[in-house]
């Protein structure tokens, strides 16, 4: 058993100091609280393959984003807690106080830029292993690496995830930028018993050359390497990849990008027969992304295949599909829908079974005032994992809640 968040706590002040140092003393302070109280009813809260009694849960979600911003960058820290309580005594073992601490700092200089992210999360596997279909924030830094295992399995487990990432580089010319990036991820579970999940560490180093070919087209080339270790199956893998990205607007509000690459992975791990498996694999990666940002409607669709460091115990190929739509029906009423699908492969001769899942969420938001709104929606998860034909699990929930959203003065503030 590997716990817990205490070994990462000293990193908190360090990351905060580095963030504030990056943004320096200019700019203005900004404090943005967000509070949510939600009640939800789930027909299979444990994600088990048998009929379950309905579980009713109340969750209080509180976060405060505090930091400084200027026209040259920003630096903020965001502590967050999600505390919950179940109505039924039999569900009390599902309760967990999820803790989060994120920091981010960006700095634009005349001929260079720098960005720093840290992201700590300690949360129940009920919420960490199946990614949300609707995201509140755009992922940055290490958050862009998908590490959900795609299967709940033992439902009382807790995942601790800590990520650090840095990116920066010079402008080589008015149209060409060189960027170096590094991210480090450490994922640990309190229990190592389930086959579905394993602790791991991953270090990524990358270098990207981006070129604004003309007024509309951007092309980028990236070389990256990953070093992955998972103690449970003694997996030591190294990957080297090359990818290129093309980005272009289709209309005034719609952009699309396509990313294609190849990655070569050298792996060594203990297989299902307790024999050591060594080998090399070559594979393609790709990502197609299209998004619209308009006053009343935003949508984004992305589909791709990547080689991701995973809690499956492998540096494994995974297919991802993500669709999100947000539409403002009237000045007070907004609608959002999201679809998230993933298929995670682990290769042959692995102890960990492959799995896939589909998650859909719809949500309506009724603004009571500038800061308060009522939320209601439906969330559905379907998992498919296991050996020899797989195990199908479905979970469906409805939720209602109230939200308080503080106002930010920073230009990058979320709506």
């Amino acid at each position: 058993m590997r716990t817990n968040c205490s070994r990462w706590l000293p990193m908190g002040p360090l990351t905060l100091a580095l963030s504030l140092l990056t943004a320096r003393a200019d700019g203005a302070w900004d404090f943005v609280p967000t509070l949510m109280l939600t009640a939800e009813s789930d027909d299979n809260a444990r994600h088990l393959p048998v009929d379950q009694p309905t579980s009713t849960r109340a969750a209080f979600d509180a976060r405060l984003r505090a930091g400084r911003f200027s026209d040259r960058g920003e630096a903020w820290v965001e502590p967050r807690i999600v505390a919950d309580a179940y109505a039924d005594e039999a569900d009390r073992n599902l309760e967990h106080n999820d803790l989060f601490l994120r920091t981010r700092a960006t700095r634009e200089m005349p001929r260079a830029f720098f960005a720093f992210d840290s992201d700590f999360r300690s949360e129940s596997v009920l919420r960490s292993e199946i990614d949300d279909a609707l995201e509140e924030d755009l992922p940055t830094g290490s958050d862009t690496i998908e590490t959900d295992s795609g299967a709940i399995g033992t439902f009382t487990d807790v995942r601790d995830r800590f990520g650090l990432s840095m990116e920066g580089g010079p402008s080589l010319s008015d149209r060409t930028t060189l960027a170096f990036d590094t991210s480090w991820l450490d994922v640990a579970y309190e229990s190592e018993l389930p086959l579905e999940r394993a602790d791991f560490e991953n270090l990524t180093l990358g270098m990207t050359l981006t070129r604004a070919v003309d007024e509309r087209n951007n092309v980028a080339a990236r070389v990256y390497g990953m070093d992955y270790t998972a103690p449970r199956n003694d997996n030591n893998s190294r990957a080297l990849g090359v990818e290129a990205t093309f980005e272009r607007p289709l209309t005034g509000t719609v952009r699309f990008s396509i990313d294609v690459g190849v990655v070569r992975t050298e792996f060594s791990y203990i297989g299902a027969g307790f024999d050591r498996v060594d080998g090399v694999s070559n594979g393609f990666t790709f990502l197609f992304d299209i998004e619209k940002q308009a006053r009343a409607t935003t949508y984004s669709l992305s589909a791709g295949q990547s080689v991701s460091p995973g809690t499956t115990g492998f540096l494994a190929p995974r297919d991802d599909l993500r669709l999100g739509v947000r539409h403002r029906i009237s000045p007070r009423l907004a609608f959002a829908a999201g679809v998230r699908a993933a298929a995670i492969d682990v290769g042959e001769n692995a102890v960990t079974p492959p799995r896939d899942y589909l998650r859909t969420t719809i949500e309506f938001d009724w603004a009571l005032s500038e800061r308060y709104s009522l939320r209601a929606g439906h969330d559905r998860v379907r998992e498919d994992f296991g050996v020899g034909g797989g195990t199908e699990i479905e979970s469906s929930s409805v939720f209602v809640g109230i939200r308080y959203q503080g106002q930010s003065r920073a230009p990058s503030a979320r709506p």
Binding site: V213, F246, V262
Partner: protein, 237 residues
């Protein structure tokens, strides 16, 4: 043709190009491309191991391709490529008692780096010449104790044309002479040889093209590729 003569010709062309006008076509020499290939080969070999004779009958397979180029100034470029495929093969094992056919596969990989020069003909045709180094590797398992692994590296010379009749289309052909041309898996050696290559490319937008490539040689392959162009990005400018 010896490599020394190839190199002499190349450096002569280099000297001429240094004084020539800059290329006028819209074709970019800074790009990165990725592709999938289907390869087929009749390269074969026979080895005797003890009382057994092992003969290879390769078939076809598929793999991946990656290539790239960076323009240097307005007339030159550095290029590189990597191709890898897993190709199915049968091994016919003849012994005094019986004859057996065993199915298997082998890995074929080739990589090259080259320095090239461009001579424009009008605003739609470029002649290019390249001098580079190519490595080829055949990696087999063992069917009956034999070892067909063969690899070598040698210089190669290429010349060809790139033609864009319209900004959206490109046709390219090339002839290549290589010191690692024909593999003899029986002896584990390569002979000097030549091959031809052709490609057609459709640029969906100015800087992203979908291509179909056909390359000959002892392991001919057909490939579908996507090319990301970097426009006028150049090293040294």
């Amino acid at each position: 043709m010896s490599v020394r003569r190839l190199a002499s010709g190349f450096f002569l062309a280099f000297a001429i190009l240094a004084a020539a006008p800059a290329p006028a076509s819209d074709l970019s020499y800074s790009f990165l491309e990725f592709g999938s290939i289907v390869a087929e080969t009749d390269v074969s070999g026979t080895q005797v191991v003890g009382l057994q004779t092992v003969s290879l009958v390769p078939d076809d397979g598929d793999g991946l391709a990656i290539g790239g180029s960076l323009a240097v100034g307005r007339r030159f470029y550095f290029g590189g490529s990597y191709r890898a495929a897993v190709i199915a093969t049968d091994a016919i094992i003849v012994s005094p008692l019986t004859t057996a056919t065993v199915a298997g596969s082998f890995d074929w990989t080739t990589s090259s780096v080259a320095f090239g020069a461009v001579i424009p003909f009008g605003d739609r045709v470029d002649l290019f010449v390249e001098l580079g180094q190519r490595s080829v590797h055949f990696d087999f398992g063992s069917f009956a104790g034999e070892n067909f692994d063969t690899s070598d590296s040698a210089a190669e010379f290429a010349a060809g044309f790139r033609f864009n009749p319209t900004p959206r289309f490109e046709l390219a052909i090339a002839a290549i002479a290589s010191g690692v041309g024909e593999a003899d898996l029986s002896t584990g050696t390569f002979d000097t040889g030549g091959r031809a290559a052709a490609a057609i490319r459709w640029y969906v937008f100015e800087d992203i093209g979908l291509g179909l490539d056909l390359t000959g040689g002892d392991v001919p392959y057909i490939g579908a590729s996507i090319r990301f162009g970097f426009g006028e990005l150049r090293a040294g400018n």
